[in-house]
């Protein structure tokens, strides 16, 4: 089974790219690590032709306004349906929002895409609350370990491991209590601390609520 890992983030292989970190973690403990390519650093049509020679594709992407980033869409438009059976494709989505139910639309889209491309669908793994991984990797050791376990199990079984997927996907939805807590956190401003820190560093704190297009 010859698998290629695609990083669908517009940030490509930058050190600030969470999808790249996900990709590297996924292959880290494999006996024969898969090749990783970045969509952002390739010509979409050429990359689409290149991946056609692989038995399987794992596409790792960030969530951009409830769907894939524009560059991933462009790449998808260049893919041709497989002419033979036996090829497979799977997806790993990472996003800043806590609850992975927000990936619901794109998950269904990707399943439909696999079918239209004549690929077996390996599933879509969702990880929420992932935006800060590149900034504070030590705080996300557990997530990074799970990604490596996902990769090891994939190399062995050519499938996503249900137990690992479940751990990564949790929480799927927010309980009423958690929503209440979040409202409280936002009301007292605790949820803004991280943003405010960067706004101050950039000397634009007073402009944070600007409406420049009115």
């Amino acid at each position: 089974m010859n698998t290629i890992i695609l990083n669908g983030s517009p940030k490509g292989n930058s050190e600030k790219c969470n999808s790249q970190i996900f990709a590297e973690q996924f292959v880290k403990d494999m006996k024969n690590p898969c090749e990783i390519k970045c969509i952002a650093q390739n010509v979409p049509k050429e990359l689409a032709q290149y991946v056609a020679d692989f038995d399987a594709i794992i596409l790792i992407l960030p969530l951009y306004i409830h769907a894939m980033p524009g560059i991933v869409m462009k790449f998808i438009e260049e893919l041709e349906p497989a002419t033979s059976k036996g090829k497979s494709i799977g997806f790993i989505i990472q996003a800043g929002f806590i609850e992975t139910a927000q990936h619901k639309y794109v998950g269904r889209y990707l399943e439909n895409l696999a079918e239209r491309l004549n690929y077996s669908y390996l599933g879509t793994v969702s990880k929420g609350e992932a935006a800060a991984i590149y900034m504070y990797p030590k705080m996300f050791k557990k997530v990074l370990k799970l990604l490596s376990e996902l990769g090891v199990a994939y190399e062995k079984n050519h499938a996503f491991d249900d137990e690992v997927v479940k751990k990564l996907t949790n929480p799927y939805e927010l309980s009423k209590f958690k929503l209440w807590l979040l409202r409280l956190v936002n009301k007292v401003g605790l949820g803004n601390i991280g943003w405010h820190k960067v706004l101050r560093e950039n000397d634009v704190m007073d402009k944070r609520l600007d409406r420049p297009f009115l």
């Binding site: 983030s9 517009p10 940030k11 952002a40 960030p62 951009y64 306004i65 409830h66 769907a67 894939m68 980033p69 524009g70 560059i71 869409m73 462009k74 998808i76 438009e77 929002f97 806590i98 609850e99 139910a101 927000q102 639309y105 269904r108 889209y109 439909n112 895409l113 239209r116 939805e173 927010l174 929503l179 979040l182 409202r183 936002n186 949820g191 803004n192 943003w195 960067v198 706004l199 950039n202 634009v204 402009k207 944070r208 609520l209 600007d210 409406r211 420049p212 297009f213 009115l214």
Partner: protein, 192 residues
């Protein structure tokens, strides 16, 4: 009242001008000023996920190209129409990359809406959203996906109301006009 059509047709396939013309005529009849932007004629780069529009130049994307004009037009409209070929149930990459650049119109800060976490609004008022998808060949699952995506994007961009409809390229002008008329009514367009 202002309306904006974002036409996400792709330069290498069927034109969506027929749909655009019908929308323009109907909205003009209801007293709207219309602007249509054919996205593939514009210079719009991809969002690079840098959050510069939130944290460096709040409200303005740091990439200086035509996406800034698109964002300005969007927020100053009462209705926005996403007009696009349906590609596997989603928008064309032309439209998608333009929308990715619109996150400058919302705030980085979080709030809870519809029982989910979303980014808070930056502006006091946002346009209503209409999604119009055109199939070369109709597919039920993809039609549902398209409707769902428009709804999700209406939540992302705090649209006060939204509606969507898919068409197949071969539908008659009369059928198209009837359906678009119904869509416009759903977001409050009034012909009186």
């Amino acid at each position: 009242m202002k309306a904006l059509i974002l036409n996400g047709e792709r330069s290498f396939e069927y034109s969506l001008s027929k749909f655009s013309k019908i929308i323009e005529d109907l909205l003009k009849g209801a007293g709207y000023q219309i602007k249509t932007i054919i996205l593939h004629e514009k210079n719009i780069g991809n969002c690079i996920g840098c959050f510069g529009c939130w944290l460096k130049k709040p409200g303005i994307c740091i990439i200086e190209d035509d996406a800034q004009e698109v964002a300005r037009e969007v927020i100053n409209s009462d209705i926005i129409i996403y007009l696009t070929p349906v590609t596997f149930g989603g928008y064309s990459s032309q439209l998608k990359k333009a929308l990715d650049r619109n996150i400058s119109l919302i705030s980085p800060f979080f709030g809870t809406y519809h029982g989910e976490v979303h980014h808070r609004p930056r502006y006091k008022k946002y346009p209503s959203l209409i999604g119009i998808g055109v199939f070369s060949e109709y597919n039920k699952d993809q039609a549902e996906l398209f409707t769902n995506l428009v709804e999700r994007n209406a939540y992302n961009f705090h649209s006060p109301s939204h509606a969507s409809q898919v068409f197949t390229a071969g539908e008659s002008l009369q059928e198209i006009e009837l359906k678009i008329n119904s869509l416009l009514s759903k977001v409050g367009v009034n012909y009186e």
